[in-house]
Symmetry: C2
Subunit: 444 residues, 2 copies
């Protein structure tokens, strides 16, 4: 990998041990913050200068929130943290034996290496899906989906062909986990309450929403009761749920399902799965199911003073032999605990093993409806929806973002409006044939 | 110009006369709204699906506001307006004799044609400036400048070469009108209050701000008193003002001024002037100083039933022989009046000529300082700054946007913070040599 010769990683060597954290997500942030008063030099790498709250990305995509509401710059989180260095640089490789991190800006060594670089979309080897579908893993992807969706509606009032009109207004969401369910519900809300006001010329009966999952029920990580409720709620939003169904093919215009159904759709959202975001140099023996195998102290198996936390780490335990779920709660708890254990090292006391404190899981389905699974209790409906909102609000980092998200929710709820229906990025997923749009094509 | 064969402009013919408006800015919106209850079919074209409040774009560029605060979708403004059609499509040519409008989606005829397509950046023929400088005319440009600026700071903590470090942290603003003055002030504020917290490793003495203007004073459209005050205020923000000075050259790294000074700068903001956004097909005899010549009823000279309003129109009068200023107030007033005159036509009463009601002009210079020129009164300082904020707030379209902007201002003022320091669009102005960035280069 070519280096950028005008740049260098010049981080002063002190007598403190150096910890490198790869990734500024939930796990990395909690770990770095936990070391604030400890005697370590902390160096954090991320290819973005911000962290994003992924569970609400679907609201950015459906024009309910702007990116600044759910994302925040990383640097301000560590403003008063001494001997902390942030570098916006892509890590290309790690050498776990020599504790060496290679980036596009050069390489740097450390005493302790913490992998916290999360997960990425799993296409299960399907290249066509990779080229032609939309994702909800990163902020720019959410903005792309938003622009694409609004562009399609602008075109739908001008399109001559009935098939094309169908394709422009139909949506297929692949994957019935929380992201798939939540984005389907949000699209249902747009169809019911928002878009018909904008496009009075369009008969919204033609806008069809499909949610496809290979498994026999939605939200497989939740209780069956919640799955059933979610199914009922989402059908109320006119979403056509197809379970036990695979996507067989997609040419950018028509989705073919395993049951033979063909759906005209210019927009397919891929929310079918994630996998570990593995970096080159992780020994094969340390990888299991595409994630980095760790013990109950988040120590990477087969490497010294190397740790993995959050989505990238897989920690098989007796209660979770396949490894814990890839969710924010695990990432935060592992980040916090590892920092505490690092401090214990300096105090020469024994480390505590990780024990997941499962606070429950939940998903929202459009206006007024959600399902919540607490360890001993499952419920749904309006009360679940208020709980969902409250938990998400307190999980967002930063007081400003909480206020902005809350105000937007109140506004959207009271007015049945979405404030951010702006096509700022002209976006065309399909690169070939050359995009033809009725306006200037500028790839801003 | 190639047409998009799958799209068509199928707008139903009624017995109402058809009015086509090109452009959904201040002038076009006011005109179209004014015809709400009149007996006309109204068709509006714009290449964006939103209107933007240009005077605050510099705050989007300097991370103070998100685009949704100062821009709004066009369609919701006309939700309940009957026989109104919006088409997001680029107009390529007009035929003023046959009242024909040609777009990328096909052509359409009308009974009345209203040109409201505003202004564009004037480079005064300087191709280098066109390729290498940043603008503040459109929302994507403001976001580009924001991302570019933050990327440069991220690189500045890694760069080896002293010249390059200088270039990454220096800013040259060309043009001492309101946009140039306001963006310089905002950059001064970032230098003083915001960026040093983010980059404690960087000595902010090296961040140099330059404001260059060919004319002998700043804000030439305002009183000399206000010019002098603005000069004083802006120097307090460490902005180096160079009057009577031209930019002679720029290679993407070094700006050369007419006095021989060379300034290393990776960021040059071009705010030196605007010109009419002329469409192909406007007869040469109707063009003056790059704008469309109109009489006091906004009728285009030499064409029947064709009108021009706002920045695109030039209306020489005895008090303004060079034509009125290209500002929002003129555009709004002309749009409103033309709609009233259209209604008068149907009532067969006489049209009223345009008379500009000059409500004064103003500019803000960073925190707490502004200058205001009222017709008979000039003042500056903190009181002017509160007036500036109030007037801008009430000028923004839509209650939601006013609330969002106001809340952001209160937050920014109280915390000395900027909420939106996210590098979402990786942006490199200079296309050749190929950009090298320390992170993934994705042109989202």
């Amino acid at each position: 990998m070519e280096h950028l010769s005008h740049l260098a990683l010049e981080i002063p060597k002190t007598d403190k041990p150096r910890v490198i954290i790869i990734g500024g997500g939930f796990a990395g942030i909690q770990f770095a913050k936990g070391l604030k008063k400890a005697n370590y030099q902390v160096v954090m790498f991320d290819r973005n200068n911000y962290h994003a709250f992924q569970p609400l990305l679907y609201q950015v995509a459906t024009a309910g929130l702007e990116p600044d509401s759910i994302a925040g710059a990383l640097r301000p989180l560590f403003e008063n943290q001494k001997d902390f260095y942030f570098r916006m640089a892509r890590v290309t490789e790690v050498d776990v034996t020599n504790k060496l991190v290679k980036t596009l800006v050069g390489e740097i060594d450390c005493d302790y290496l913490v992998l916290a670089n999360g997960s990425k979309t799993n296409y299960f080897g399907n290249q066509i899906m990779m080229d032609k579908t939309f994702l909800l893993k990163q902020v720019p992807q959410a903005l792309d989906l938003r622009s694409h969706m609004l562009q399609n509606f602008e075109q739908s009032v001008m399109v001559k062909d009935a098939f094309e009109k169908d394709a422009l207004t139909n949506f297929v969401v692949v994957g019935g986990g929380p992201t798939g369910v939540e984005v389907s519900g949000a699209l249902g809300e747009l169809k019911k309450h928002v878009l018909p006001n904008d496009y009075p010329e369009l008969d919204f009966e033609i806008m069809k929403l499909h949610l496809v999952d290979a498994r026999p029920r939605l939200l497989t990580a939740m209780s069956e009761k919640s799955s059933d409720k979610a199914y009922k709620y989402i059908e109320n939003f006119d979403v056509n749920v197809k379970l036990n169904t695979l996507v067989k093919g997609y040419d950018g215009k028509t989705v073919t399902l395993s049951d033979g159904t063909e759906i005209p759709a210019r927009t397919v959202v891929w929310a079918a799965g994630v996998k570990g975001n593995l970096i080159k140099g992780i020994p094969k023996s340390s990888v299991e199911r595409g994630r980095v195998l760790v013990d109950s102290f988040n120590r990477v198996q087969g490497a010294e003073r190397v740790y993995a936390i959050g989505d990238i780490a897989i920690m098989p335990t007796s209660s979770n032999p396949n490894g814990g779920p890839m969710v924010a709660q695990v990432a935060m708890q592992q980040g916090k605990l590892l920092a505490k254990n690092f401090i214990k090292s300096q105090k020469k006391t024994a480390w505590n093993p990780f024990k997941y404190n499962d606070k429950g899981s939940m998903a929202t389905i459009g206006r007024n409806k959600a399902v919540v699974d607490l360890p001993r209790f499952h419920f749904g409906g309006f009360f679940a929806w208020t709980i969902w909102m409250f938990i998400h609000l307190i999980s967002i980092i930063g007081f400003r973002n909480r206020v902005v998200v809350f105000s937007n929710w109140v506004w959207n709820y009271l007015t049945y409006d979405r404030g951010t229906r702006l096509i700022i990025r002209t976006f065309v997923k399909e690169k070939s044939p050359k995009p033809k749009l009725p306006f200037n094509f500028h790839q801003y």
